[in-house]
């Protein structure tokens, strides 16, 4: 009997069906990450409710109910008879005060000088921070060497009277250099090439000092702007940048000093670090502004901003030293021994082998200290200086703008500005960590 069998031979591949809806796209992602089990579902729901509680009123306050334009407090007052349930941020007040938040009470006609400093700062910092940009060496010299002096002259107006003793002192440095060179040549029997480094060291320092002094004392036609009228973001940045730039090298030096085998160096470093870590920053600022004038003879004053800068720098240098020391301790002994076996002396060993590894390890700690320092600048308010937060708080006392929401708006603005700077630093440090990651990451 004949049996007919039919065969079905598939000549083409079955069409690929899309994955089940429940495992792809938004729904799949949500099922996998948010609703994978009962407990996770509960947590998700609670999380969403909490987020809604926090975010919705915030958006309501900062955007929906906010008042964007106005000339005085009347614009931001709640409508007559209402209980104030729909009071939003008074951005009109921030707008009116914006120049003061950025420049403090810097004279309006001279604000271009601050703008130039801001622009130069950005122009020099951005290429320095981008690894792909060329001319790193020139850039660092400009940023760390030239910029501070230019900024100093632009911001203060320069034209500082310098006593003749200072000039004599500078000349003396050069003279000492020449004298040492001469003694070495005559008595030490060295030739000119042998004393060249000494000459360059001393005379070069003297020349650089003379140029700096000449520049800051030159009358460039800029009117003098005293530091008490500086304020707002300007003061925040001056303190933070000076503190950051000065505390890192100082901290590295202290960390090396603390690990040094020379007892006096070690003792001095330990005492310095423990002293500055042992006192609160507020105490340091108070000492510098309240106690110091009592020790000085009557009539002798000494710029308050400078006192604060020195205090903040020494304070953060002590913290930086401990962070860097942590990095130094993490470097295996073999690295030191290997460097010494190559015949490197102390500084080349540190500069070429140890510090690059140690600093890379402690980038998070260093940036942590930087961010802490940036936020600590707000403490200068207690010594009568107006940083960004201080300037905002001082604007609360202007009756022209006092409204129920003035405080909230001002603090919100401060939070936004501080967040932008601190978050920026934090992201940059992560970028640097990834870039410098060369296989040590665990």
């Amino acid at each position: 009997m004949a049996k007919t069998e039919t065969f079905q031979i598939r000549t083409e591949e079955a069409p690929l069906l899309p994955a089940p809806v429940s495992t792809t796209g938004l729904i799949g992602w949500m099922r996998q990450n948010l609703f994978s089990s009962i407990s996770n579902t509960v947590l998700t729901v609670i999380g969403v409710i909490i987020a809604y509680w926090i975010i919705a009123p915030f958006i309501q306050f900062a955007f929906i109910d906010a008042i964007w334009t106005g000339d005085d407090r009347k614009a931001c007052l709640p409508p007559e008879g209402s209980e104030g349930e729909h009071m939003g941020a008074c951005w009109a007040y921030v707008e009116a005060y914006f120049p003061q938040f950025i420049y403090g009470r810097y004279p309006t006609d001279e604000i271009w000088r601050v703008n130039i400093v801001y622009a130069l700062f950005a122009l020099l910092l951005v290429p320095l921070a981008m690894p792909s940009m060329p001319l790193k060496k020139l850039n660092s010299i400009l940023f760390l060497g030239v910029f501070p002096i230019v900024a100093f002259v632009l911001l203060t107006g320069g034209n500082i009277s310098i006593s003749s003793y200072t000039w004599i002192f500078v000349a003396l440095i050069a003279a000492v250099g020449v004298a040492i060179a001469a003694i070495l040549m005559v008595a030490g029997g060295r030739d000119f090439n042998g004393v060249k480094p000494v000459l360059i060291g001393f005379v070069g320092t003297a020349v650089v000092l003379a140029i700096i002094l000449g520049f800051v004392s030159a009358n460039l036609g800029l009117s003098t702007v005293d530091t008490p009228v500086w304020g707002g973001l300007l003061v925040t940045l001056v303190i933070a940048v000076t503190g950051i730039v000065a505390s890192l090298p100082l901290g590295i030096a202290l960390a090396l000093g603390r690990r040094s085998t020379m007892p006096i160096v070690r003792l001095v470093s330990v005492i310095f670090i423990e002293f500055w870590r042992g006192v609160p920053l507020i105490t340091v600022l108070f000492m510098s502004s309240v106690m110091l004038p009592l020790f000085l003879p009557e009539g002798v004053t000494f710029d308050k901003l400078l006192r604060v800068l020195i205090g903040v720098t020494l304070f953060s240098a002590a913290y930086m030293a401990e962070v860097v020391r942590g990095g130094l301790q993490a470097i295996p002994k073999g690295q030191y021994e290997g460097a010494m076996a190559l015949g490197l002396r102390f500084w080349p060993m540190m500069y070429l082998i140890i510090l690059p590894q140690a600093l890379k390890l402690v980038i998070p700690g260093i940036v942590n200290t930087f961010i802490g320092l940036f936020k600590d600048t707000t403490l200068v308010l207690i010594v009568g200086m107006f940083d960004l937060l201080g300037q905002i708080q001082s604007s609360f006392t202007d009756p022209t703008w006092s409204t129920p929401t003035q405080g909230h708006t001002g603090y919100l603005f401060a939070a936004i500005v501080f967040f932008v700077f601190c978050f920026g630093m934090s992201r940059y440090s992560i970028f640097m960590e990834r870039r410098l990651h060369t296989g040590h990451k665990r």
Binding site: A246, G384, Q393
Partner: protein, 339 residues
Amino acid sequence: MSKKILPLVLGAAMGVAATTAASATTLEDVKAKGFIQCGVSQGLPGFSNPDAQGNWTGLDVDLCRAMAAAVFGDASAVKFTPLSAKERFTALQSGEVDVLSRNTTWTMSRDTQLGLNFAGVNYYDGQGFMVRKDLGVTSALELSGASVCTNTGTTTELNVADYFRANNMPYEIVAFEKADEVVAAYDAGRCDVYTTDASGLYAQRLKLTNPGDHMVLSEIISKEPLGPVVRQGDDEWFNIAKWTLNAMINAEELGVSSANVDDMKSSDNPSVKRLLGVEGAYGEGIGLSNDWAYNVVKNVGNYEESFNANVGPDTPLGISRGVNALWSDGGFLYAPPVR
């Protein structure tokens, strides 16, 4: 590293060198540098607060500007140093400021133990109470059992305790660290009464949701005479501060204002003539020119003008003259005559 800080250090060293030379009398110092360094608050509405343009305004600020007008004939020859409450006296003692015009209460210990002199009173303040109008209270003596919002650790808190105990009234303190928190708590209804210095009550009232629903009670439970302070031992400068304030008060009493001061120069009133330096040589007695008071009134105004421009009824603060009216209007202001 040190490159950043070096120029600043050098600058400071030069600054120190430059200022050591000066240790003559305050007036000579002030004349030599060309301006008065005036210590003000870090911001007290109507007394010394910066406006949106960054200029200092206020009753205390006007006094410094008046002193500059008296010395230089130019009310802008003054620089302001904002000082915290804690550092104000040190700043004056150390010569960082020439005069402290910072809503400072004149007390015996401050006057006698700190090496300072109070040159007068430019505002009679005192602790007061603010309540909601719908509470139906008209006197502080009806506040029995009330909860009172105030700042922690200030004399304000102690004054309240004294007052309520003296009047045998139970009360409950709700204290906060910062003025902003206190006013927010009061606005949210966490307490019935808000107490601080009366001038502060008016300023904080602006931060309430409905300022019109609140009133300041008339009782004042403490004496806070606020005035300018100078260093002890320099009587010439002390006199200038004292008489600048007196000139402003006298000018109001004699009806001399910045608007009519030029016309008043030809007034027949001998008191006006003496004040404006048309007759006599009273300016010489305080080491200034004889038109010192004319300059004060011309450039800054009399006390009434200053009061009305900074804290008066037409400003957001809306403080009435009350005890700060002239003695002839039932207030406390009474300046010795110029003669």
